[in-house]
C-alpha cells in the first residue's frame, strides 16, 4: 500500500520534454527549461516572510506558485514581490487570456458557448507539484456571441474572448471557432481531461506560473484524474475547496469539494463520498475507524430506494428512514443474502446496532429480518422464520438466540434456522414456518426429518392437552413426545390406525420406539399400550 506523499509527488515532476530537443540542421532547437533552483530551496522560508498583511503577499504565500515566481528571478522577487505578483496574476495588458475559473463562477472548466479546442504544456510547474502543467484553451463556438473584454479581476485580469488563436489538438471535427474565451489549467494529461484531445504535445514554458486567485496547487494524482473523469467542477462535486492532502492515519489522500469528497488509497482507488453517508462515516472516525476507506462511489440500490457506499470495513446506507452503518461482520452477512439488491432477503437496514435485552448479543434490524452477533458468531434471520421467532419472544423465548443463518435445505424447497438450544424453525412456501424443539424435534430427526416421507412440519410443537405429552404435525405424519417415552415419529400409514384407536388418549397411549420397516413394506411401531403393524 503506497501513500502518495507530497515529496514523492514533487519527485515525480522531474524535468523532461524540452531538455534534449532533437535538433535539425542547421541549429539546435529550444533548450531546456531551468531545473531545480535556489528558489525552490528557499520557497518555504519566503512564503513565511510573505505571509503578512499585504493581500498580494498572502496570495503568493498560499500557493506553491511562489516557487515558480522565485525561479524566474529570485533576487527581484525577494526584493520586489509585486513583480512576481504581476507575473503570476497578470493583467489585461499582458496579452494572455484569463483563466476560466476567473470568469466561469470559479469553475476551472470551459463555460457554456465554448469548447475544448487545444492545449499546451508548461514543464516544471509549481502549480502541479513540479510536474507538467497543461493549459487548455476554451475557444468560442460559432457563431461567436462573446466580445473581447478584460476579466476585471484584481488577480488574473487578463483578456476574455479576445485572442483569435487555436492550438488545435482537440475537437478537430470543429473547424469554425471563435476567440479563446478562457483557459483551463490542469495537471493531468489533456486526453485524460477530455477524450476529444490528441496526445500531440506543444510546449510553452513561459506560462507555467500564470495564476489566478481561484487556482490552487493540484498534483497529477489518482484523485485529480478521478475528479476530472467525473466532470471536474461541472460534476456534482463542484469546485475544489481544500487541496489534496494525506488522511490522518497516513494510508491515503483526500480532497474536499463543494459537493463532496474524494478519498484515495492504493487498494480502494479514488472514490466519491458525500452527504449523509459522509456524515455517518465521519462520525465513525472516517478512514481511521472501522469502515476504513470507501471502496465504491455512492451507489444506488437495485430498487432505487437507497444510496449507499461500500467501505473496506462495511457499508453505509442512506434512505428514507435514515442513514445506517452496517460494519463488518454484519455487512458480510448482509451481502451474503443479497445486500442492497432488489428484493434481497433482509432488505435495507432500519436501525443502528443495538444490544439485546439480555445483553448477550448485538443486532441490526433490517426491513425483513435481523442480523445477530454473539461472540464470534454473526448470523442472519429473515422472512417467515424471523417473524415466527419473534412471535415466540425472540431471543428471550424458548428457542433462545439464533445459532445459524437461514439455511437453504438440500431439496431446494425448505429453509431452516437452528437456535442455541437445538430448536429449529422450518419453512416452506406451502407449509409456512413452524418451530420444533425438544423430544418432538428429536423424534422427527430420528425418523429422518425432511428428507423422508415425513416432509416438513405443518404445526409448531403443541401440547397434546393431557398434561403429559407434546406433538407436532408434519406433511407425512406426527411426532409425539413425553418425558417418559421420549419422542417418536409416527408415519401417516400407522398414524391413521393410531388415531382411529384414539391416539395418545386411546389405549395405545404414546409411541415408545421408532417405526420398524419389515419385509414386504410392512411397518411396525410399538406404543405404551401395544403394537401397530400395517
Amino acid at each position: 500500500m503506497i501513500a502518495l506523499k507530497p515529496r514523492a509527488l514533487l519527485r515525480r515532476g522531474a524535468p523532461h520534454g524540452v531538455s534534449s530537443a532533437e535538433s535539425a540542421a542547421p541549429a539546435a532547437g529550444p533548450t531546456s527549461a531551468p531545473t531545480a533552483t535556489i528558489a525552490e530551496r528557499v520557497v518555504a522560508r519566503t512564503a513565511g516572510l510573505l505571509s503578512g498583511g499585504h493581500s498580494r503577499r498572502r496570495f503568493l504565500a498560499r500557493t506553491a506558485v511562489v516557487g515558480s515566481a522565485l525561479a524566474v528571478n529570485p533576487v527581484s522577487f525577494l526584493l520586489k514581490p509585486g513583480t512576481a505578483y504581476g507575473a503570476v496574476c497578470g493583467t489585461c495588458g499582458d496579452g494572455w487570456t484569463a483563466f476560466c475559473c476567473t470568469v466561469n463562477g470559479g469553475k476551472n472548466s470551459c463555460p457554456p458557448g465554448s469548447f475544448v479546442a487545444g492545449w499546451w504544456k508548461a514543464d516544471n510547474a509549481a502549480y502541479c507539484c513540479g510536474g507538467p502543467r497543461y493549459i487548455v484553451d476554451c475557444n468560442a463556438t460559432c457563431p461567436t456571441q462573446c466580445a473581447c473584454r478584460c476579466s476585471g479581476a484584481s488577480c488574473d485580469g487578463r483578456r476574455v474572448c479576445c485572442n483569435q488563436f487555436r492550438y488545435g489538438q482537440c475537437n478537430q471535427q470543429i473547424s469554425c471557432y471563435g476567440p479563446v474565451v478562457c483557459r483551463v489549467a490542469i495537471c493531468i494529461t489533456p486526453w485524460t481531461y477530455s477524450s476529444a484531445c490528441s496526445t500531440r504535445t506543444l510546449t510553452d514554458n513561459a506560462t507555467s506560473q500564470h495564476g489566478a486567485n481561484c487556482l490552487s496547487d493540484e498534483c497529477d494524482s489518482s484523485i485529480t484524474r478521478r475528479y476530472y473523469a467525473l466532470g471536474g467542477p461541472d460534476s456534482t462535486l463542484g469546485i475544489r475547496t481544500t487541496v489534496e492532502r494525506s488522511t490522518p492515519e497516513g494510508r491515503g489522500r483526500y480532497a474536499v469539494y463543494q459537493g463532496g469528497r474524494l478519498y484515495w488509497s492504493s487498494p480502494t482507488a479514488a472514490r466519491v463520498i458525500g452527504g449523509s453517508i459522509y456524515s455517518a462515516w465521519a462520525a465513525a472516525q472516517a478512514t481511521s475507524g472501522v469502515f476504513g476507506f470507501p471502496s465504491t462511489d455512492v451507489l444506488t440500490s437495485g430498487d432505487g430506494r437507497a444510496r449507499y457506499s461500500k467501505f473496506e470495513g462495511g457499508t453505509i446506507y442512506s434512505w428514507s428512514p435514515g442513514t445506517f452503518q452496517v460494519p463488518n461482520p454484519y455487512n458480510l452477512v448482509h451481502a451474503k443474502v443479497g445486500g442492497a439488491i432488489r428484493n434481497s432477503a433482509l432488505g435495507l437496514p432500519t436501525s443502528p446496532i443495538r444490544r439485546s435485552g439480555d445483553g448477550r448479543s448485538l443486532y441490526l434490524n433490517f426491513e425483513r429480518g435481523r442480523i445477530y452477533r454473539r461472540g464470534s458468531l454473526c448470523v442472519e434471520i429473515h422472512g417467515a422464520i424471523f417473524f415466527k421467532h419473534e412471535s415466540m419472544s425472540g431471543v428471550h423465548g424458548v428457542l433462545g438466540h439464533v445459532a445459524s443463518d437461514v439455511l437453504v435445505l438440500a431439496d431446494g424447497r425448505g429453509r431452516g434456522t437452528i437456535f442455541e438450544h437445538g430448536g429449529v424453525i422450518y419453512y416452506t412456501g406451502t407449509t409456512g414456518a413452524h418451530a420444533l424443539y425438544g423430544a418432538v424435534l428429536k423424534g422427527y430427526l430420528d425418523y429422518g426429518g425432511w428428507q423422508t416421507d415425513a416432509g416438513y412440519p405443518t404445526t409448531d410443537r403443541l401440547a397434546v392437552g393431557d398434561g403429559r405429552g407434546y406433538t407436532a404435525t408434519f406433511e407425512g405424519g406426527k411426532s409425539f413426545a413425553t418425558s417418559t417415552t421420549g419422542g417418536h415419529f409416527v408415519p401417516r400409514r400407522i398414524l391413521t390406525q393410531y388415531e382411529a384407536q384414539g391416539g395418545p388418549g386411546g389405549s395405545l397411549r404414546y409411541p415408545v420406539a421408532m417405526v420398524e420397516r419389515l419385509a414386504g413394506g410392512v411397518l411396525r411401531q410399538r406404543f405404551e399400550g401395544g403394537t401397530l403393524t400395517v
Binding site: 520534454g17 532533437e22 535538433s23 535539425a24 539546435a28 485572442n163 473547424s175 500531440r200 504535445t201 497529477d220
Partner: protein, 162 residues
C-alpha cells in the same frame, strides 16, 4: 540556405534564421478519458523561420521569439500534428502550403496579443500530414508587405509524403 529535417525542407532567404526541431517526448502518460487505455505524449517537428535572430528559448508557437520582435520583423511557424489529425475538418487537405493574405493578419490572431503585432493562422493537411501555419509580423502596418514575404518563404517549403 536550406534546412531540412523530419521530412520538411525550407529555403531560408538571405539574412533569415531557421530551425526545425522536435522536442523529446516526456515521460508523461495518462489514461484516455472513458477508457482504460494509457497513452503517452508525442511530439512532432516544428519549423521556425524569422528575419531576425531567434532566441534559443522559444515556445512551439513562437513565444520568446515574439517578445523580441520589432518593426519589419516576420516570424513563420509551421507545426506538425499527429496522424489522427490528418484530413479532419480543422485540417483540410491542400496541395501546397496555404497562402496568407493581408486581411488574415489581425492584432487579435495571436497566441499572446502584443502591442503593434499581428498574426495569421491556417490549419491544413499536405501530403497526408497535418500542419498549422502561423505567422506574426512585428508591426501590423507592415502586414501587406510581410504577407507577401511570408508567402514567398512558405512557397518554398516542401513536405515529404508520410
Amino acid at each position: 540556405m536550406e534546412i531540412e529535417a523530419h521530412g520538411i525542407r525550407a529555403e531560408l532567404p538571405r539574412g533569415w534564421e531557421g530551425r526545425i526541431t522536435r522536442r523529446r517526448a516526456g515521460a508523461t502518460s495518462g489514461p484516455r478519458r472513458g477508457t482504460e487505455r494509457v497513452e503517452s505524449e508525442d511530439t512532432g517537428p516544428v519549423l521556425h523561420m524569422a528575419n531576425f535572430a531567434l532566441p534559443e528559448d522559444r515556445g512551439d508557437f513562437g513565444s520568446g521569439a515574439v517578445d523580441v520582435m520589432g518593426t519589419g520583423h516576420l516570424l513563420v511557424v509551421v507545426v506538425e500534428y499527429g496522424a489522427d489529425s490528418v484530413a479532419t475538418a480543422l485540417f483540410p487537405v491542400v496541395d501546397r502550403v496555404p497562402r496568407l493574405t493581408t486581411r488574415m493578419f489581425s492584432p487579435q490572431a495571436l497566441q499572446r496579443v502584443q502591442r503593434g503585432q499581428a498574426g495569421a493562422q491556417r490549419f491544413f493537411t499536405l501530403n497526408d500530414r497535418a500542419f498549422c501555419l502561423y505567422s506574426v509580423v512585428g508591426d501590423q502596418r507592415d502586414a501587406s508587405r510581410l504577407a507577401r514575404t511570408a508567402n514567398d518563404v512558405t512557397a518554398q517549403i516542401q513536405v515529404a509524403a508520410r
